[in-house]
Subunit: 558 residues, 2 copies
């Protein structure tokens, strides 16, 4: 049996003009700003006109802790959206945009796979509608204005040793992680140590994804803390008068992008913050717009449920006033085997015992998600090597936690493979059984919030933080930032901070290395263990084999 | 008498859908890839289908040495294009895209002014169709791959001290001119000194503007020399296998952008290399496409005629097989006064003697342009403060050189103000009197080429170059690069290398500071005196006052 590659399937797609896709949701062509024939941005005026409409149902797709076996979270989001449309529901999906840099390293595309894809996948993995370029420009304008302010006399009294605002580039470039700038003499300013992060790690990205409109965007940009004075008082973006120009640069980027699935169903693809240092969800604007236009909106959050779903609930939903109706937790037989200790090379062999050994990872995620008061359905993303006995183990484990597990074959069959899942998800959503609440209240102390996440979600025994960190958290509370939620930055591969601890570890500690205030985005980043805000390229980057073939098609990108 | 601002005029423009503008040139809607409603890229297939058509007439707009008084080269290009259309000719204009960085410093927009503008001007001064972002990405991907290659073992034997490829950002950021990268330990690579240039100074920009198609683009990208080994042998972009991925990143950017003038005439706006370090002309693809579609194509070259027109003739026309039919040399009464020694504050007062004192700058440019065998018309871009007596001095000076000088009022009146100029230009073009030849042949030695430009165009006595530079030029000749043209990098404010020497200086020397080989673009850059490949921001950058007003309009950008 041979399968077509993702890119082959995508190229055979019968794409419809984006105006037809918009029409499915009732968006007039005049409110769609076209980018080519198959991408468009939805106008600000149209979004404002929807204000008084009722919201559809919100469905979150999340996953077990990721393994090299792959889970298919995006693929399942697409498949479920198509499945809902297939059973006659008016449904839309909301995804994140892909980061350009990693496409030239080793990461594949971010548009789904098999017969559950979003198109045009090539554009989505390259420049798309330019949103990330706009974010890079806005971020770096602020950086240039900081050094320029110091250069021209430093009226604000910026302590050059305490400039926290770095620069960004949408490229995996380890050489830029740690640099010294302004060498070469008087005309180039005052030398200082700083560095570049990848664009998706920018606070501007997080802000764009959380802002409700352009006014809110500018307010949040103004709130960014870029540096401190010698007396430790903060310097805001607003003090440098950069917020207006940054808003102008982000004006178009704030508008959600509309594309389509292989089955010509509407997909909003907008925003893409890192799920480790930021909150890892698509934009609030896109989700809210989709909810006004569709009866069911399927969206995803980054990495495993301990990181992605927790932040979706505690940051995005809390801040945007959203409440999910159903959570779909994606698992695969192969990933369960890996959680059960099987090596990647042996995944094709049936191993019922290993699946059973891996299932505690799944069941803990189910239990965790229930803490938020939302019903959970497990989607078993089917692989050809899966056996009935293996699948049954997952079903039984889920059932023991009171959750139904449903096999999906969207990768192979498209929406035909998700009819059962879609039907069950719609039933649960329509039943309005969710009683959503975030894990912790705004009023809880910052350290207590961290402990709550670590103990209740990660099942850790304790949080380790030295005096300096505890003092810093208290100082922020005193400065009026105590009400902010926590954005945990932790490995996605384990409930713990050790990426090798698969399954459902207990008895572990959560050591905090650093805390950072994202005053514009509106959260406190808590960095546990190693974190990478600028990836590197592998020995042989994918870029080496990317090119145009004789037909002018792109090869090697996926 | 009060005038509307450029932005007020632009906002009142009755823009037509870009498909209607394309239709004027016979471009079917199916060959226009829309970016919004008022911008589009012309498809590769359509451009290829034009191959066998005859070319229209090519008209170059250039100017005297720029002064702070402003000359209006772009404005005159737009005005002449509209004028030609007004008198019933099928005409198109070709302009360069604007650089984002300088818009936040102090430079105004690059879309013309008054009633001779190209729209949408806001987009053109911001992200436009993303071409420059694509160039930035392609440039920086190559940079990341160089450091990554060294990091993973340096199989090619790159001498880390001799990496010539820097990074770029489309921002005025002096802090990045001179930096040390890869600090922070083993995981971040090998520390070395390097820096960032502004995107318009990238060789990738020059390559995009000179490439004839995607195949040629990839070949030229592969030819870029990025570093040298200890034995001084060059490392090419191709050796790092970066050329394919860079081509993929530039695939859409290679397609010319179509927009419109205020009078709904077609304008191609594509490419924008720095006129000092690169050749400063819009793309060959855009110019060639326009020539196939229109009977008259008006284009411009950067800065004064000594730099811009010389490079247009000796680099762009030579390489692309183009031959201009007429040259329009823009002058103003005010700029003549400044060349005659008047201070900016006193420009509003009539000063016939000062105009006469400044005219040798004009007449030398006329004489220089005739060296290329192309007829010259002087366009006097009219200001309200100009007096008849002042204008007559310019007309008489031009006439003494055998050139007609025609007053144009396009800023105030649009095409109505350029009917006389357009009529005369069309007559000259139709008469086919041009006998274009570049200033020097391919076979001349590199140093001799430099001397030819310095003596015949700049009217210098001698070229000063030390042994190291002469040896370098000889080494390139030996390596097979002797046939390349010269790309002079020199101040635009004077015929000499001293920006304060206005008028028509003689007896000066041209000191060469540095020579650089742009093997991909296909020229040797000769740097005379100071050159800035990364500008800085002023004390109060324009960005401080840029923002959205209550109506959602952009303010402060122009």
């Amino acid at each position: 049996m041979s399968y077509k590659s993702d890119i082959e399937i995508a190229r055979e797609a019968k794409k419809k003009p984006i105006q037809e896709i918009g029409a499915k949701l009732g968006i007039d062509a005049e409110h769609l700003l076209p980018y080519g024939r198959d991408k468009a941005k939805v106008s600000q005026e149209f979004i404002e006109s929807l204000k008084d409409r009722e919201d559809g149902k919100l469905i979150l797709v999340t996953a077990i802790n990721p393994t090299p076996a792959g889970e298919g979270k995006t693929t399942t989001t697409v498949g479920l959206g198509d499945g809902l449309n297939r059973i006659g529901k008016k449904a839309a999906i909301c995804l994140r945009e892909a980061s350009l840099g990693p496409c030239f390293g080793m990461k594949g595309g971010a548009a789904g796979g098999g017969y559950a894809q979003v198109v045009p996948m090539e554009d989505m993995n390259l420049h798309f509608t330019g949103d990330f370029h706009a974010i890079t420009s806005a971020h770096n304008l602020l950086a240039a204005m900081i050094d320029n302010h110091i250069y021209w006399g430093n009226e604000l009294g910026i302590d050059e040793r305490r400039v926290t605002w770095r620069r960004v580039v949408d490229m995996n470039d380890r050489a830029l992680r740690d640099i010294v700038t302004s060498l070469g003499g008087v005309a180039n300013g005052f030398p200082r140590q700083t560095g570049f992060d990848i664009t998706v790690a920018s606070e501007v990205m997080a802000i764009l994804c959380l802002a409700t409109d352009l006014k809110d965007l500018q307010k949040r940009l103004g709130d960014i803390i870029v540096a401190y004075r010698r007396d430790r008082s903060p310097i805001y973006c607003r003090d440098l008068k950069a917020d207006g120009a940054m808003t102008v640069l982000l004006k178009d980027a704030m508008q959600p992008n509309l594309v389509q699935t292989l089955e010509n169903n509407p997909a909003f693809v907008h925003g893409g913050p890192f799920a480790n240092i930021a909150h890892g969800c698509n934009s609030v604007t896109a989700t809210k717009t989709a909810l006004k236009l569709a009866d069911y909106v399927v969206t995803e959050a980054g990495f495993g449920a301990d990181l992605g779903a927790e932040k979706f609930m505690d940051i995005k939903c809390r801040k945007a006033g959203l409440a999910p109706d159903v959570v779909v937790l994606v698992a695969t037989v192969r990933a369960m085997k890996m959680n059960g200790g099987v090596a990647k090379a042996d995944l094709d062999k049936e191993n019922v015992a290993a699946v059973a050994d891996g299932c505690p990872n799944l069941t803990r995620h189910i239990a965790n998600l229930k803490l938020f008061g939302v019903p959970v359905v497990v989607a078993i993303n089917h692989f050809v090597t899966d056996t009935d006995a293996e699948i049954q183990v997952i079903k039984d484990s889920a059932a023991a936690q009171g959750a139904e597990a449903i096999v999906c074959r969207h990768w192979e069959l498209g929406s035909e493979g998700t009819v059962e899942l879609a039907t069950r998800v719609a039933e649960l959503a329509d039943a309005k059984v969710a009683q959503f609440a975030p894990l912790y209240g705004d009023d809880m102390g910052l350290f207590e919030k961290i402990e709550t996440i670590a103990k209740r979600i990660y099942h850790a025994d304790e949080v380790l933080a030295d005096k300096k960190i505890r003092d810093q958290l208290r100082a922020w509370e005193a400065a009026g930032y105590g009400h902010l939620p926590i954005c945990m930055a932790k490995t996605q591969y384990s409930f713990s901070t050790d990426p090798n601890l698969r399954g459902a570890p207990t008895g572990h500690s959560v050591p905090i290395r650093e805390v950072r205030l994202s005053a514009g985005a509106g959260f406190v980043v808590v960095i546990c263990g190693e974190i990478m805000t600028m990836p590197g390229l592998p020995r042989h980057p994918a870029a080496e084999t990317i090119g145009l073939n004789d037909l002018g098609y792109i090869e090697g990108l996926f």
